[in-house]
């Protein structure tokens, strides 16, 4: 295929998904604006926001890419009915790494702010991180698996779907569960 042909394919396959994901990120942006009160009552939460959102994208983006490559190599069938051991292992591994990384991010934030003598709420930050990580992990692994499998069965390129779907749902669900976890911890 010519350079122009490849570029046109990349553009055509990407523009729809990226457009949709931009709308999702705009929603996440307005949710970030709505977190104003929580950001003030939980010092350190703003520092944690990029790390937590990135963890969602990293862990479940990697899961999606893994599933997409395996589907195209014929190592995986796009159905849950086969009770594929590989699929379950990939899901369990994603959940474990996602949770561990979330808590690690909270601890690292606490240490950095503590070293800088800045205000920080250690126990609350770790609790918010853990709760948000667990809730978004469950929702995101289901979403990523579903979208990649259904997309592949309908003849779409799963690689093009993974990035935008993960970033959009990661941003929106990540921000939503961060908001809910902050409310729960503050009400405790």
């Amino acid at each position: 295929m010519s350079v122009r042909g490849v570029a046109a394919t990349v553009y055509r396959e990407g523009v729809g998904a990226l457009g949709v994901s931009s709308v999702g990120s705009l929603l996440a942006g307005s949710l970030l604006g709505g977190l104003e009160t929580e950001l003030q009552r939980l010092p350190g939460l703003l520092v944690l926001v990029p790390a937590l959102l990135a963890t969602r994208g990293n862990v479940y983006g990697s899961l999606g890419a893994r599933l997409a490559t395996a589907l195209q190599q014929g190592l995986l069938t796009p159905t849950l009915r086969s009770h594929d051991r590989r699929l379950y292992n990939a899901l369990v591994a994603a959940l474990c790494t996602g949770l561990f990384t979330s808590v690690f991010a909270a601890v690292a934030t606490v240490v950095v702010l503590w070293l800088l003598n800045a205000a920080v709420a250690p126990a609350s930050l770790v609790a918010v991180s853990f709760l948000a990580g667990l809730a978004s992990g469950i929702v995101l692994s289901a979403t990523v698996t579903g979208v990649v499998f259904v997309g592949y069965r309908r003849g779409l390129n799963p690689d093009t779907l993974v990035g935008p779907v993960v970033t959009t749902t990661g941003d929106v669900f990540g921000m939503m569960f961060l908001y809910l976890a902050a409310r729960v911890v503050l009400a405790w």
């Binding site: 394919t9 942006g29 990135a54 990293n58 990939a90 690689d159 093009t160």
Partner: protein
């Protein structure tokens, strides 16, 4: 092939060290946000733009990385003056050139609907487009080099490249956005 070993332990071992390093980089991005908190509160449009500009740049990168990775696994991609590689890079830059102005307009519209916009449409468009184009160039350079390094070291690009690209975009995205905002606003 690394992607053949699908045990929980193998996947965790392959991804967790990278994730911890990337998390520390993200904390750096968070500290930049922390330092700019006053500006963000003053211009809410910029706060809405933060996830969008970062997210769109990250999407472009992970899409490019994911496609290159699969092409490597399938054996259709070689590094050098390859039509497949050049076409991917060109398509990615075209996507950025059309998406970022739209993203800026969306952020302006959203803040206009929610509250009072403190930044004019023209300025928001310039901020979004300029940071978008700068970021797209960074995305392409980082993605292609990361994929190449992973390939040369016989690591699975799926495990390494996408996390690296999205996180570099996050940190640089925050920095680029504020550098451009300082120039324009």
């Amino acid at each position: 092939m690394v992607s053949g070993e699908w045990t929980v332990e193998a996947i965790v071992r392959a991804t967790l060290p990278v994730l911890c390093v990337l998390t520390l980089i993200e904390i750096g991005s968070g500290m930049v946000l922390h330092g700019f908190e006053a500006t963000l509160v003053q211009y809410p449009t910029l706060l809405v733009l933060v996830p969008v500009v970062i997210g769109t740049a990250g999407n472009l990168g992970s899409m490019l990385a994911s496609r290159l990775s699969t092409a490597l696994h399938l054996g259709t991609l070689t590094f050098g003056t390859n039509a497949l590689l050049v076409g991917h890079v060109l398509g990615t830059i075209l996507l950025a050139g059309t998406l970022f102005p739209a993203v800026g307009a969306g952020a302006w519209l959203l803040t206009s609907v929610i509250g009072s916009p403190t930044l004019g449409l023209g300025r928001v468009l310039i901020v979004a487009t300029l940071s978008g184009v700068v970021l797209a160039l960074v995305v392409v350079i980082v993605t292609v080099s990361a994929t190449y390094i992973a390939y040369r070291r016989r690591a699975d690009p799926d495990d390494v490249v996408i996390p690296t690209v999205t996180n570099v975009c996050d940190v640089l995205g925050v920095l680029v956005l504020f550098a451009v905002a300082q120039l324009v606003v």
